[in-house]
Assembly symmetry: C2
Homo-oligomer: 210 residues x 2
C-alpha cells in the first residue's frame, strides 16, 4: 500500500558515486541528498543513519557492480589462468576508457573505504572488508584450480595467491593515486611470474645498463 518510490535506490547510487570519488568521510548527507534529489527527511525515512546508508550502499555495489564483473571473468568454465587474465585486463580497459573519457581513475570502490580503519564507523569498514574477502576468494579458487591442473609452479599456493592479490590491489590503488591506468598495464604477465607460469615467451632480453 501507499506511495511507491525509487528514492532508496537513488540514495544508494548517489552514495556510491560520491564515496568512490571523495572517500567516505568527505561525503556529507546533504551532498548525497542533493545528488539523489531527495530531501533530508526522506533520507532518514529509508536509513537510520549515514553509516547505515554507507553500509547498505557498499552491499548494493557488491551485488550490482563488483560481483557481476567478477563472475563474468572468473566463470568456472573458463581455464583458470584465463580467468585471471580476463579480470585483470578488463579492469585495465575499464580504467583506461574512463581516463580517455576525461574522467578520473578511481581505483577500487571498496578498497579505499576498507583502508579508512578507525575514523570511520566499524559498521562501514566491516562491510568493505567483507567485500574484499569475497573478492579474494575468486582469486583463490582460480589459482587453486590452476594448481590442480598443473598450470603453475609454486611452493605455497596460498602465499602465491596472497601475493597476486596484493599485486593487483596495490596496482589498482596506485592507479587511483596517479590518476592513470598504467600501473594496471601488463599485470597479468607479472602475476604469471608470481605463479611460476611463464606464458608463451617473447624472446628474452638480457640486462641493460642505466
Amino acid at each position: 500500500m501507499g506511495r511507491v518510490s525509487d528514492a532508496r535506490q537513488r540514495l544508494l547510487e548517489a552514495t556510491n558515486e560520491l564515496t568512490w570519488k571523495l572517500g567516505y568521510n568527505a561525503v556529507t548527507v546533504d551532498a548525497i541528498c542533493e545528488k539523489a534529489d531527495v530531501r533530508k527527511g526522506s533520507f532518514y525515512h529509508y536509513f537510520e543513519s549515514k553509516p547505515a546508508l554507507a553500509k547498505a550502499a557498499l552491499e548494493a555495489q557488491w551485488e550490482s557492480y563488483s560481483r557481476p564483473l567478477l563472475e563474468a571473468s572468473f566463470a568456472a568454465d573458463i581455464p583458470p589462468l584465463e580467468r585471471l587474465k580476463r579480470y585483470m585486463e578488463t579492469m585495465y580497459k575499464n580504467q583506461k576508457e574512463k581516463k580517455q573519457r576525461g574522467e578520473r581513475v578511481l581505483g577500487c570502490p571498496i578498497f579505499s573505504v576498507a583502508m579508512s580503519g578507525e575514523g570511520v564507523e566499524a559498521e562501514v569498514v566491516e562491510a568493505a572488508q567483507r567485500a574484499l574477502k569475497r573478492k579474494l576468494r575468486y582469486f583463490q579458487t582460480a589459482i587453486q584450480d590452476a594448481n590442480d591442473a598443473g598450470l603453475i609452479k609454486v611452493d605455497d599456493t596460498e602465499a602465491a595467491t596472497q601475493a597476486v592479490y596484493s599485486l593487483f590491489e596495490g596496482a589498482w590503488a596506485r592507479a587511483r593515486i596517479q590518476n592513470s591506468p598504467e600501473p594496471l598495464a601488463g599485470l597479468y604477465e607479472q602475476a604469471l611470474r608470481l605463479l611460476g607460469a611463464a606464458e608463451q615467451e617473447s624472446p628474452p632480453k638480457k640486462s641493460r645498463v642505466a
Copy 2:
C-alpha cells in the same frame, strides 16, 4: 627575540599520529590541539590552515621517519637484492612488533593520504604523492643495480619495478585493512619471482590437490 617553543614540533607529531590512525578527514583541528597540548590560537600562529599543517606534517614525517628507514635499508654499499630484502623484512618486523604490543597495524602513513584523491585538499594529496614517488626511486635504483649486476632476469626492468612496488604497497595496504602483518610476510621471496631471481632454492615441490 621573544619566547622559544616546541609547539610547532608537537603539532606536527600529533598530526601525523592522528592522521596515520584515523585518516586525514577524520582528524579535527581540535583533536590535534588537544593531543599536542596547544591552544587553537597557537595553532594558527604556526600554520595558516589545517591542510597547510597536514602538508608540513607529511614532509616532516618523510624526513624523520620514512627517509631514514629507506636510507638504512637501501644504502648503496649493500648488494642490490639485499636492500630489497632488508626493507621488506624490516617493515614486516615493524608491523609485527606493533601488533604484538597490542597496537593497530596502520600500514604506510603516506599511502592512505595519497589515496584520498579529491575530497582532500590538493596541497595535502600532492605532498603525499611526492613522498611516494621518492620511495619508488629507492626501488628503481636497487632493481636497476640488480639488473646491471646480472642478478635478475626480466624483459622490462621498469615494468618489473612497478610490479614489485605495487606488490609491496598492496601488501602494506592489506596489512592495514586486516590489522595484521601477515600480508607482508615472505614478500621478498615473492618479489624475487617477479624479478626472475629465484634465491638459494629449497627443494621445489610439485602441485598439490585441494
